[in-house]
């Protein structure tokens, strides 16, 4: 249960290797939850930049997604990030979009 809002939470998100340590045992020797979150935030920001958004880790428990004008949304996991990103931009965040892939390829 979330200590802040009292909402019953589910099991950890499937993308977090620390939620299923039995599947990632050898990887977890060399990494930890906080480091994985840092990497996730860094890679996600490469993509979110295309949409004018930035992501920050918030206390190792949530993420803050922000627009350039300062609008922010707090999200818990990757699945929520994309829902919030589309709501903030009023557009589609499509990983198959050729414009996005071109940006990623050139590092813009």
């Amino acid at each position: 249960m979330c200590s802040l809002c009292g909402v019953l939470g589910g099991r950890g998100h499937w993308t977090e290797s620390t939620s299923t340590p039995e599947a990632f045992a050898s990887r977890l020797d060399a990494t930890n939850r906080r480091r994985e979150r840092q990497t996730r935030t860094a890679i996600a920001n490469r993509i979110l930049k295309h949409y004018g958004l930035t992501l920050k880790d918030w206390g190792g428990s949530s993420y803050i997604l922000s627009t350039k004008t300062g609008r922010t949304v707090i999200v818990d996991n990757l699945s929520e990030i994309w829902i919030a990103a589309e709501a903030l931009t009023q557009g589609e965040c499509d990983p198959l979009d050729e414009g996005l892939l071109a940006d990623l390829g050139t590092g813009r």
Binding site: L8, T20, E22
Partner: protein, 356 residues
């Protein structure tokens, strides 16, 4: 936290109207290992008949009151499963080790999967097991062509059972099998008639999946089937000949995949295209992980990843089966490679697709 593998598996038996779901189910329930199975029946136009056929399971049978098990009424499923678990805990009904849900012929099984995986209480007691889809060999081809519900039921199946093959022409059966392979190349097709029905193996159909020690290797073999050679033959052939917009294909990646980048990519893909990405199944070589990581998703519903102990052979390539509606292999491949390259700048944009 409860290990996912130890949760009570819930199998879904689905299939279009009149396909023979109940006949198959009633045979499977007679297997010795299926004795501790609770059955949930969704009645729709078959009132009474279904219940009569499986009345031997009445001790642990709950009949859902409404029609289809779709999003609008999944509260019923939630309530039924919670009640089932509570009654068992109170000793009012016998212990059970498995639940089988028989859907109505028009049902979309995905909301059932979602309810099991996402409901705050159920997810700590139950997990989704194999989805078994029964296809009628006489009318199946027409149902697949005319009814999206039927096509989707076949596309998301872990196992496909062909019924009534003794009533159709051999050529028709071959055409149906080709069509099913095109829609879902990763699901084994079992002929219910030639196995004599009573020969239907409950372990193979229901019990063995990637979350059981017995089922992991068999599941991988089924997913990848004839594609172990690194060529995409079966999927490619099916794709080239396809006549509908649902198709299955398999991607192979030479380089290890970065788990974080993969998670970002897949959540983004499912958020935007989850309605068209019907299944994803794969065995991944994840950077920094010695054993292969198995992934398994049904539209927006993704199982927690699991692993095999050791690789099945010397081949260390990642391989992922996609079943999509109207999304090409090339677009998926280019996108995943680009995302993976974000975490591995030393790699080229293409992660190396062996089949090409």
């Amino acid at each position: 936290m409860t290990q996912y593998e130890t949760l009570i598996p819930i199998n879904v038996i689905t299939g279009f109207l009149g396909s023979g779901k109940t006949t198959v189910l009633s045979k499977l329930l007679r297997a010795p290992d299926m004795g501790e199975t609770a059955v949930l029946i969704n009645e729709f136009g078959e009132v009474g008949l279904d219940h009569q056929l499986i009345e031997h399971a009445e001790e642990s049978t709950l009949l859902l009151e409404n029609g289809c098990l779709c999003c609008a009424i999944r509260d019923d499923l939630k309530t039924s499963l919670r009640n089932l678990f509570s009654r068992c805990a109170r000793g009012e009904i016998p212990q059970f080790r498995r639940v089988v849900i028989e859907t109505s012929g028009l049902a979309d099984p995905v909301p059932i999967a979602y309810t099991i995986m996402a409901e705050p209480v159920l997810q700590y007691h139950f997990r989704l097991g194999n989805i078994v889809t029964v296809v009628d060999a006489v009318n199946g081809m027409e149902s697949l062509a005319r009814y999206p519900e039927s096509e989707k039921q076949a596309a998301i199946a872990d196992r496909i059972v062909l019924s009534k093959t003794d009533l159709c022409e051999p050529g028709d059966e071959a055409a149906l099998r080709a069509k099913l392979a095109e829609i879902n190349g990763a699901a084994p097709i079992i002929d219910a008639v030639r196995t004599g029905l009573s020969g239907l193996d409950a372990d193979t159909l229901l019990a063995h999946d990637i979350y059981t020690p017995e089922g992991k290797r068999a599941a991988i073999d089924a997913w990848l089937g004839e594609h172990d050679g690194g060529h995409d033959g079966g999927y490619e052939d099916a794709h080239a000949a396809h006549t509908s917009d649902v198709s299955s294909f398999c991607l192979w990646f030479d380089d290890a995949l970065d788990w974080t980048a993969f998670g970002i990519w897949m959540t983004m893909l499912l958020n935007r295209h989850g309605d068209r990405v019907l299944r994803i199944k794969g065995m991944l070589n994840v950077e920094g992980v010695a054993d292969p990581v198995l992934i398994n998703g049904v539209q927006h519903v993704v199982h927690p990843p699991t692993h095999m102990t050791g690789w099945p052979d010397a081949d260390r390539r990642s391989r992922i089966v996609f079943i999509t509606r109207g999304i090409s292999r090339e677009r998926i491949e280019a996108s995943l490679a680009a995302f993976n390259a974000l975490a591995n700048p030393a790699q080229s944009g293409r992660a190396g697709v062996a089949a090409e």
